[in-house]
Symmetry: C2
Subunit: 412 residues, 2 copies
């Protein structure tokens, strides 16, 4: 089996961090000067690893194995949040690079093919997963022409400044790449809290978000008797309480729900609120369960509306995200590799956050592997993972990739 | 029995409204030019009614009966909210004026004494009930020197500009005024909802207000499993729900409670709130019941803190206002007058809002009478009361005053 080089892996990760380093974290948002510099470095490292590498017309860095296919595609992203962690995205890309090197260095696996990609703009500086969506043919030139960051910087101008404009954009060939593996930090506390070191992802959860508004009547908090109040705030509290109680009763093992925003109007301690609004979001790997959650909370809203006296409205917010199941066969290979390298120290778990794998999953079987996040922190300079865990995760990937590609070649 | 002149009463009220009129409402905040003009008019009307009237060093307009005492003191305020109703305060003052006229015009009551006052700044432009507190000796020259409105306009400069500075400030003489009656619009919807026309006030309610803060841990709404969350917002919702449920179970006939302000931090639909805060206010005429409410909610907080994982703190906000009971004997006379003029159409009720009577009650027996507010609206240009109700309320006051003062003179 292939043996990865932990020091080389960590060295590459730390070198990449230096592009935009801020303390333990990184500021390397898409298509800034430092991001473009880091892509040139990554291209060079891919070429040194023997990959046929290029940066395409949307800035995706793709290194292809010189071996004939089928090739497992490994990837993630090297752009960061405005105040990003050093491993979020970067780790999955450098894992790909190290796995490619490890496979080629072992005579037993030197014939196996792995392709490696860094997808442009997973963090959404210009749009939703621009790089991986481009690779799936989902981004028109017009979308790129219209895409701007919050400061009004255009994506097209930024691509031109980087020297990428006018290049062809790479497109997925499912025959070459019949499967995808993305390794990532967990960004949550489940592994750490379970005392486990590897997460084999079962699905990227679906997300549904709703805005609930409550129309009551604003009144004096001293002179308005309780029975004649139409208190929008109390209607919100009662509904939120019952939603939580009901979700608790019907939840799945990994369901999460959040009421992260509440506003009462006018928001004074001595005025009965006449208007209130809140957001309700829930996530689950199972779309049928998501349907049950939605039905359950809508039934509570109907019941509250029938009882009165406050009128409650429900409006979906943002896109409804359907769960992306991870491929069973790829999962089985990753689980076998995890059990080999970290016996008993791994679990199956969903991904609560979105990733490029969600996009790639539109066309080919996809899979993900997680390593623990210290204190569950991400999207913060303080994000980190123990070096032992970083190295272990990469070894599991290398073993998994060897198993998967051998399987495809009928040598499994 | 004295007979008030309804047309004269309404005419005076409408003339007073013209000072600062805005639609049906009034803008006449304390010591503005229009407020000072209106005080000169009121002084004149008091003198025409045969009262010995003056404006004192804090702008209180006080008209005393030429008759020897004991004199019932009637009063309220003629300053308004920044967007005020035309009757809030003004009605109680003009009632006093009309009652003084009606008593003096009836040979049977011409010997009875009623004194009439408009207290400066009940609406709190410069401070808390500055005029009535001054009349009780509770306002130092230093407090006046420091008092400023929200725009930085000083009370001392405003008194000087009005020509009141340097005048003596009147002081209550309990021998002259052994009792106080303040008529006011209800500012709530209880009378209207009960189909009644007169409220005999039993007490001005006490008020206690608390700020509750919730310290949890901010986390990603997708990647943080429910069992390890420290969701400050959910802790708030659960506590608020239980407080409401508990207060409902132990409430008195007139208890009100309000949670008018809730804030979650950072307040995003996909972030588990790490911090939350809310205000809880409750009001009741009975201080012992207020104690029970406070004990009950503090017990719920302790219980929630013992269960964790969110840490809840309680901090009293603003002054704790003790209920002001209305004098039983004065109440009985007002009730008798109400039953005479509006048989079956009156009720006993508390005042949910504060009034100058709360201050005057520190030294002498006080009483209040309410007339209905249309749709319960106040502190708004739309505030109004049916003219029939305005006239009826004044007649009940006149009859009540005659009964009270006769009683004091041993002629009851």
């Amino acid at each position: 089996m292939p043996k990865i080089d932990g020091l080389r892996l960590l060295d590459d990760l730390k070198t990449l961090r230096a592009y935009g380093a801020s303390g333990n974290g990184v500021v390397r948002t898409s298509l800034t000067g430092i991001d473009v510099e880091s892509r040139a470095w990554l291209l060079d490292r891919m070429q040194q690893a023997g990959l046929k590498a290029e940066i395409d017309g949307i800035g995706n860095v793709i290194g292809r194995s010189p071996n004939p296919g089928p090739a497992l595609l490994m990837g993630s992203h090297t752009d960061t949040q405005p105040e990003g962690g050093w491993l979020d995205g970067a780790m999955g890309v450098i894992y790909g690079l190290e796995v490619a090197r490890a496979l080629s260095e072992d005579p037993d696996t030197a014939d196996l093919a792995v392709d490696v990609a860094s997808w442009m703009d997973e963090e959404g500086t210009f749009g939703i997963c621009m790089g991986s969506r481009s690779f799936l043919g989902q981004v028109s030139d017009d979308e790129i022409a219209r895409a701007k960051d919050v400061n009004g910087r255009g994506m097209a101008e930024s691509l031109a400044a980087a020297g990428y404009a006018g290049r062809a954009r790479n497109r997925l060939d499912p025959k070459r790449n019949p499967g995808y593996l993305e390794a990532h930090i967990e960004q949550g506390g489940l592994l750490e809290n379970s005392g486990k070191r590897i997460g084999v992802v079962t699905a990227i959860v679906g997300i549904r978000t709703f805005r609930l508004t409550f129309e009551g009547a604003q009144n004096h908090a001293g002179t308005t008797p309780m029975p004649i109040r139409k208190d929008a705030g109390m209607a919100l509290i009662r509904l939120a309480y019952r939603i939580d109680e009901t979700f608790e009763a019907i939840k799945g093992e990994r369901t999460v729900w959040t009421m992260g925003r509440i506003a009462l109007h006018p928001g004074s301690h001595s005025i009965v609120p006449g208007f209130a609004d809140m957001f309700l979001q829930f996530r689950d790997p199972d779309d049928a369960r998501m349907d049950r959650f939605e039905m359950a909370f809508r039934a509570l809203v109907e019941e509250a509306n029938a009882a009165g006296p406050v009128a409650i409205s429900v409006e979906p917010k943002g896109e409804k995200i359907t769960p992306t199941p991870m491929d069973d066969s790829l999962q089985a290979h990753i689980a076998a590799a995890a059990e080999q390298d970290a016996p008993g120290d791994w679990i199956h778990m969903p991904s609560g956050a979105g990733h490029d794998a969600m996009i790639i999953g539109d066309e080919i079987p996809v899979s993900m592997l997680f390593v623990p996040s210290i204190d569950g922190i991400s999207h913060d300079f303080a994000e980190d993972t123990a070096e032992d865990d970083i190295v272990l995760g990469c070894q599991v990937c290398a073993d998994a990739v060897a198993r998967i590609v051998r399987g495809w070649k009928g040598k499994g």
